[in-house]
């Protein structure tokens, strides 16, 4: 009898143990599910309806666009097109046209021609769906610089060269000298001027935007490789992969990157529906953005919007690999500036005097 009881007790203990293990597994998996759900629900919370929420959650788990298969890319683009079309009430296309082969894009800007009208800034905002009122984002910043900061006399240019010696030419400074530099200083400049008429005769103007460096420090700083340089030399961002850490912003010596602190404000009637995945598609809160040389245009053989908007023809764009391109001609024939050369970033944006 006692043996029977012992066997029963052992069986019962085994059953209890099995049940307890089962309950442990259930609780552990529920806890894990809770953590995942709390993360993904944060992305879904702002969605307008169920279908939108579903797409947002799918986007949350989306990988880096460059590493996706063709099928995944198609799905990602279809999701975005559907969402933007519903959100802005107009048929929106998201292109993923690749950069052309045998091209290295470069840009040149004639600061003697620029009149500071800021049409390039407005054209850029409209073309690239930048945030408007409240959380204003502008990729181009126009600086108004006193004319006294500019000096280009030939004498001063030559003054900077040290005498050649038998050991060779060990020049340190090129152009002018410490007391009278032959070039341009931005000391005393303003970038948020509110003049009713331009140009002001005592000033000249210098628009600054992403310099599309050949050795971009922002790309090196990105911990998740959300920003990268394509083979046409343009530095791009995968907005869905960006984690918003702002390391790239800190790394950029030209202060060309803009961060979306809040939800961008883009009125539906002003939204440009022709977009590119790495370019002007509407961005979200918490991601970085910057000039892409209008990737949605230039990858299709068109000029950037800022160039088209410039009323005085101060802007030139072209292929640096082609000796007949406008940019190469500028480099060959005009007086071109070095801009923050000491950083060794090799910018492909050149300022020159015509």
């Amino acid at each position: 009898m006692s043996e029977e009881n012992n066997v029963k007790m052992e069986e019962s203990a085994d059953l209890d143990k099995g049940r307890r293990d089962f309950l442990k597994y259930v609780c552990t998996s529920s806890a894990a599910a809770l953590v995942v759900a709390s993360e993904s629900s944060a992305a879904a919370v702002e969605a307008a309806d169920d279908s939108d929420a579903e797409m947002t959650v799918t986007e949350f788990f989306q990988g880096h666009f460059v590493l996706m298969s063709d099928e995944e890319k198609k799905q990602a683009i279809a999701r975005l097109e559907k969402r933007y079309t519903a959100k802005y009430g107009k048929k929106t296309t998201v292109s993923d046209v690749a950069a052309p082969e045998g091209v290295l894009f470069g840009y040149a800007l004639d600061i003697s021609k620029c009149i500071g009208c800021r049409r390039c800034v407005h054209a850029c905002v409209e073309e690239n769906n930048q945030s408007r009122e409240g959380s204003v984002i502008q990729w181009i910043q126009v600086m108004k610089i006193p004319k006294g900061n500019l000096s280009f006399s030939a004498d001063k240019l030559e003054n900077g060269y040290p005498e050649k010696s038998q050991f060779g030419d060990y020049g340190v400074q090129v152009g002018g000298n410490a007391y009278s530099p032959a070039g341009l200083t931005t000391e005393g400049a303003q970038s948020y001027y509110q003049d009713e008429t331009v140009p002001d005769k005592d000033f000249f103007y210098m628009p600054v935007q992403c310099q599309q460096c050949e050795k971009p420090p922002c790309v090196k700083a990105c911990p998740v490789r959300a920003t990268f340089r394509d083979h046409a030399g343009v530095v791009l961002i995968d907005y869905n992969w960006c984690i918003g850490c702002r390391m790239c912003q800190l790394a950029c010596p030209y202060q060309a990157r803009r961060f979306n602190w809040g939800e961008p404000s883009l009125p539906a009637e002003e939204m440009n529906p022709k977009t590119h995945y790495f370019g002007n598609r509407p961005r979200m809160r918490g991601v970085m953005e910057k000039c892409t040389f209008c990737v949605q245009r230039t990858r299709e053989g068109r000029n950037p919007a800022c160039l088209e908007a410039c009323p005085v023809g101060a802007r030139k764009f072209g292929n640096l690999l082609d000796p007949e391109s406008d940019v190469r001609k500028v480099l060959a024939t005009k007086r071109v500036f070095r801009f923050k050369e000491e950083y060794g970033t090799y910018p492909k944006f050149f300022y020159y005097i015509g």
Binding site: L34, A42, G134, V136, T186, R328, R335, E341
Partner: protein, 86 residues
């Protein structure tokens, strides 16, 4: 004899408490993340960025390149472009 420390009820109680702690942690995390970017402070953050950008641009100096420097710059750009990425 039921061992209170090892009973099914006490185990379920512990499990429920653990789930509760995790849920509370998730909620607190949401609260903290939300507090990091309140709507009221967003405009200020945009202004701070703009001020910082303007300040950085004020410290620039542009120097005209000689013909040799221009050639060197172009050569470096093209060399870098043609170089195989590791």
């Amino acid at each position: 004899m039921i061992d209170n420390k090892n009973s099914r009820r006490s185990f379920l109680g512990k499990a429920a408490a653990a789930v509760g702690v995790i849920a509370a942690a998730g909620y607190v995390k949401t609260l903290i993340s939300g507090a990091a970017s309140p709507t009221a402070g967003v405009a200020e953050k945009y202004t701070n960025d703009a001020t910082q950008q303007e300040k950085a641009l004020m410290e620039n100096r542009l120097v005209i390149m000689t013909d040799a420097e221009k050639t060197q710059r172009l050569d470096e750009l093209l060399n870098c472009h043609y170089k195989e990425l590791s």
